[in-house]
């Protein structure tokens, strides 16, 4: 028989200390969030359960579950929560904690790499440069997609906060 999971109060405390995680313990488990969640209609993701597990400090259950990444940040749950729990912000805190522990999908790592390389989450290629020209726009826009010095500044900031190492999985 598997041994019962041990609650870990330190984890819940760590969540509450982060900006956006303060309201974690206000949740009284009514389930309005789960009932409102479009992702929950299509997956096994249950918002109420995720919040409960975070309250109890079931760290591995929370941080290692793919469900943590099923939220589209649509805010429907947060708008309807009768306790003012900032659910999306808590999910963001939990995701940050997971990434910090190296728990991140290859696809998401790639988005981070694109951001570092382009100053944008998607690159600009010749097909769309041609489309821009056809519409009377400059081939490359005035932002980091077309301005090398700006891209260097952008990368400097990301490196200053350690984003490159985080994405590299170091």
């Amino acid at each position: 028989m598997p041994s019962p999971k041990e609650p870990n109060a330190d984890f819940a405390e760590a969540v509450q200390k982060q900006h956006g995680g303060e309201s974690l313990m206000l949740c009284f488990q009514c389930g309005t969030c789960t009932g409102s969640c479009p992702s929950g209609r299509m997956t096994s993701f249950r918002t109420r359960k995720l919040i409960r597990k975070a309250q109890l400090g079931l760290k591995d259950d929370v941080l290692k579950s793919p469900d943590l990444w099923a939220c589209t940040t649509c805010y429907t749950c947060m708008e309807r929560c009768p306790r003012g729990v900032e659910i999306v912000d808590i999910i963001t805190v939990l995701r940050n904690m997971a990434v910090k522990e190296g728990i991140m999908s290859d696809e998401h790592r790639k988005v981070g790499e694109y951001l570092l390389a382009n100053g944008a989450t998607i690159p600009l290629n010749a097909k769309y440069e041609d489309a821009r020209e056809k519409l009377g726009l400059s081939r490359r826009p005035v932002n980091t997609l077309g301005d090398k010095k700006a891209l260097e500044d952008f990368q400097k900031i990301l490196k200053a906060v350690g984003f490159d190492k985080l994405i590299g999985g170091a």
């Binding site: 951001l115 600009l124 489309a131 056809k134 980091t144 400097k156």
Partner: protein, 283 residues
């Protein structure tokens, strides 16, 4: 209307749907709005995905964009719910938390910038509704539209409503009114306020889940008899348009509000880019 607005392009519009960028430029001209370029701006960065990875990185990059606008003496004009969500949210944090502002400025100094905390962030639909006004737009309509459209608000335009205070997040009216001023009819449909499915890193991390959202929306939109989808976010736009490469049998073209206004204000069709999309729209 003397206020200057720095056009914040973001990623998806300039790099995948340039028709949204060119339409925006054209309609701002038609409506006598002064737009300045925000040279060197970067990713907003994406609120659902990049903020999910590292909130401090997200805030520092957003602050850089705000500082660039501040140095131009302009407020920010976004054409994307994601950019609006990120920059509005970041401005809200920096304008209310001196400690965060101090920490961010320490990083910005490495690239010769400092943010003082007074730039306003606008979504173009919000600005059109509240500052430009429906009457002003109406007086510029040259080709009234006769079509039935499904309005898609997206998530980060109105929400979280406790910091944005734009409209009722459950039953809003802003976009419907902005659309109907052109003569088009905004039809009601089941689960109108549902997300497109792309946000929060779901499109990149779990595309089949994102498409399930989209398919449900497309079914509801088709059942209500809409001919087009009208949105205010290039990322929702991409999800609906490219999503239909995988989700067959709908063929519903997607029109960004700036493109819809382009049609109604008489902007040449070659500037709108509607023919360049996966599900092209011809008028």
């Amino acid at each position: 209307m003397a206020k200057k607005y720095a056009l914040f392009l973001g990623c998806v519009a300039p790099a995948r749907y340039p028709g949204i960028e060119s339409s925006t430029r054209a309609i701002c001209k038609e409506l006598d709005m002064e737009i300045v370029e925000l040279e060197g701006a970067g990713c907003c960065p994406a609120p659902g995905v990049i903020k999910s990875f590292e909130s401090d990185a997200w805030l520092a990059i957003a602050a850089r964009n705000l500082a660039l606008a501040q140095n131009k003496g302009a407020d920010i004009l976004t054409i994307c719910n994601g950019c609006y969500g990120s920059l509005y949210d970041a401005a809200h944090v920096l304008h209310n938390d001196p400690e965060k502002l101090r920490a961010v400025n320490k990083i910005l100094r490495e690239v010769g910038l400092e943010y003082n905390g007074d730039v306003k962030v606008h979504h173009f639909a919000e600005l059109f509704y509240k500052d430009i006004g429906l009457e002003h737009i109406k007086s510029h309509i040259k080709k009234p539209l006769d079509m039935k459209v499904a309005v898609h608000y997206g998530c980060h335009f109105l929400k979280p409503s406790n910091i944005k205070h734009l409209d009722d997040p459950e039953r809003p009216k802003i976009l419907d009114e902005l659309v109907e001023v052109t003569g088009a009819k905004s039809i009601d449909y089941k689960d109108k306020m549902m997300c497109c499915g792309a946000g929060g890193g779901v499109r990149s991390g779990n595309p089949s889940l994102a498409n399930k959202f989209t398919e449900e929306k497309l079914k509801n939109i088709k059942a209500a008899g809409a001919q087009y989808i009208v949105d205010v976010c290039p990322f929702c736009h991409l999800q609906f348009d490219r999503g239909q490469k995988d989700i067959k049998g709908f063929d519903i073209p997607v029109i960004h509000l700036a493109q819809l206004y382009g049609l109604a204000l008489g902007v040449p069709k070659e500037k709108l880019g509607l023919d360049l999309q996966e599900v092209p729209a011809s008028f």
